[in-house]
Symmetry: C2
Subunit: 342 residues, 2 copies
DNA sequence: TTAACCTATGCAATCGATTGCGGTTTCGAT
DNA sequence: ATCGAAACCGCAATCGATTGCATAGGTTAA
């Protein structure tokens, strides 16, 4: 193994006592003389003793490790989620084992198996886009294995989940544009098969309706790919035809930045002539010029919340049953320069 | 523990044989009748038996787990590195435990201890900006514990490392600016205790020297934090005093974008009046206006390489000693609009 | 017939730490 | 002097899997 880490036995041998005594001394159990305790602790320190977590896991049937399954690591949102998870896990004394699926269903199955074999105490999961069959999760849930899902959820799974309030985020963003005086607001929508796209579109529509603004179907433009390039080209074309546009709400920041580029290229001032709001608060959003207003879905908080819920479940599952619920995190509007007309 | 995972004992009991037999049958050891093997394997499958990795780790003194210590997870470069590490680890049957230090030295010490207690077989490390004392690593290295450093290295550590060719990257970037006609080139340097900062500075200096351009110490400005804000403020101030600046080479993209913002705010056209080149090719670099020229360092490859080297070391350290060396990955210049004057 | 041998399996120790259950001292009280 | 009770500490089992060694039973050759 390692570099001959000192074990309890080593201490015991050196001090001519039993390992039981060493174990108890280290944990300040009663029934060990102060003298012995002192000697043990001193030697432990000197030998740089570190309890072997593997042995502990085996003995206690608890690994103090949680597994995280995500589609991609290189993704601003997911990496912030991981960061939040890691923070909470660290504080609570848990290790985090990471497994990325690259959006592959088979890899997901594989990850679950590997993590289970590693005796993780629970799982934090955002499944792949391919995943339609949830047996591998439902099997575990039925056996009361702790799992918390985040960001991506399904009605086919009855488990604790953490997601963002897309509807309300989109509503706030649209309402903000309206308050800036906009009435002709384009919505750059995401792929219509994703639940989040639908929710964001609904939020946009509701805000218009509630403010008495007529809905113009032409202003709802789907950008299935969601790249900067795509929305840049789309909006370049569209804004040439429709000179009356005064606001854009994009369902993601990349699309928003593409639209911004198109507007600037057409000589439209942002924000004075066209206000723009994105969604997600990617890292680059604050770095572009003008800085992009956006809806923040704090991956960090999602990660924190999911991790806390999971660890709670792990700690208390023996005391009471678990009632699955869905935690809907508030999305907050982040107003920056790109939408401020006043 | 878990959900009552089936163990070897369960199989043994059900089949009325000893656990030794089950163990051997599962691994096709000789000396077990085909009949028994078949029965064992079938039951194992039916009971969904998965070998307990914790028990195996204890027995074999090998956890098949590697620890990754990084300053930040939410960082384009580091997240790509992690991704590369994870890919290789997965293929080789290793788990990855992640620990982020948030650039805190104490947290780094803590991470090392936690990971060691978890009996990881090796460590992949990029230390914090605060880290000046390397005892905690050198102790381990002396005891032949496998560690591979990446991105950030130090002469105080004699271990296998993977870095990008910062010197050559910086050289290329600076030379590119010179070719665009710049002679008054500011270098926004990183924290001077990081070797990468030094190397980049050296590359900058060498390119100037080789092209017969006098070195002006005033043009070398340290930005220890490396944030956009910092370089924005610094350059705003500096460019007011020095109107003759025509080019900026920043040791990272954030600093470059801050400088770009400052230049634009002062009414200087980028790139025509001031050419700017960054370093690292962060995701946002291609999205800002104008898109930022930068030096690309493939985090994914670095991660892959570091993980391979580490796993090699783990596998072969008993067969032959380890000779530390430094793998230098090539960095390529990515020319975008921000530096193209022609 | 019996020693020699092979096949198939079990025993028990091991990895490191924990813990229920006893077992020795030691000391004070009667 | 004797008894009882603290005060201290050790034995051994346990977690799950592996593995060197032993052994039961059967076969074969001399």
């Amino acid at each position: 193994m390692k570099i001959g880490q000192a074990t309890i036995k080593d201490i015991a041998k050196a001090l001519n006592v039993s390992s039981s005594t060493v174990s108890r001394a280290l944990k300040d159990y009663p029934g060990i003389s102060d003298e012995t305790k002192k000697a043990v602790k001193e030697l432990a320190k000197k030998m740089n003793y570190r309890p072997n977590a593997v042995a502990l896991s085996l003995r206690k049937s608890k690994s103090n490790t949680i597994g995280v399954i995500i589609p991609e690591i290189v993704h601003f949102f997911f990496s912030t989620v991981i960061s939040g998870i890691e923070e909470v896990a660290f504080k609570e004394g848990y290790n985090v084992i990471l497994s990325q699926t690259n959006e592959s269903y088979n890899r997901e199955i594989n990850s679950v198996n590997t993590l289970l074999a590693s005796q993780v105490d629970g799982l934090l999961v955002s499944f792949t886009k391919e995943t339609n069959d949830f047996e591998h999760f439902n099997d575990l849930l039925e056996r009361n294995f702790p799992i918390v899902f985040f960001d991506r959820i399904s009605e086919k799974i009855n488990a604790t989940s953490v997601i963002v309030n897309d509807f309300s985020g989109a509503y706030k963003a649209t309402e903000h544009l309206i308050q800036q005086g906009d009435t002709k607001i384009v919505h750059l929508a995401g792929p219509s098969n994703l639940l989040i796209s639908k929710k964001r579109l609904e939020g946009y529509l509701a805000a218009l309706r509630d403010n008495g603004i007529p809905i113009d179907d032409q202003l709802i433009i789907e950008c299935p790919k969601g790249t900067q390039e795509e929305s840049y080209l789309t909006m370049l074309d569209f804004m040439r035809k429709r000179q009356d546009i005064t606001g854009i709400f994009a369902s993601n920041d990349l699309a928003a930045s593409g639209a911004m580029k198109a507007a600037q290229e057409l000589g439209k001032q942002v924000p004075s002539e066209i206000g723009i709001v994105g969604f997600s608060n990617w890292q680059f959003s604050s770095l572009i010029n003008p800085p992009l207003s956006t809806v923040e879905q704090s991956g960090f908080k999602i990660g924190e919340t999911a991790a806390k819920l999971l660890i709670d479940q792990i700690n208390f599952m023996n005391e009471h049953p678990v009632y699955p619920f869905t935690e809907i995190m508030d999305a907050t509007l982040l107003v920056r320069a790109s939408s401020l007309k006043k």
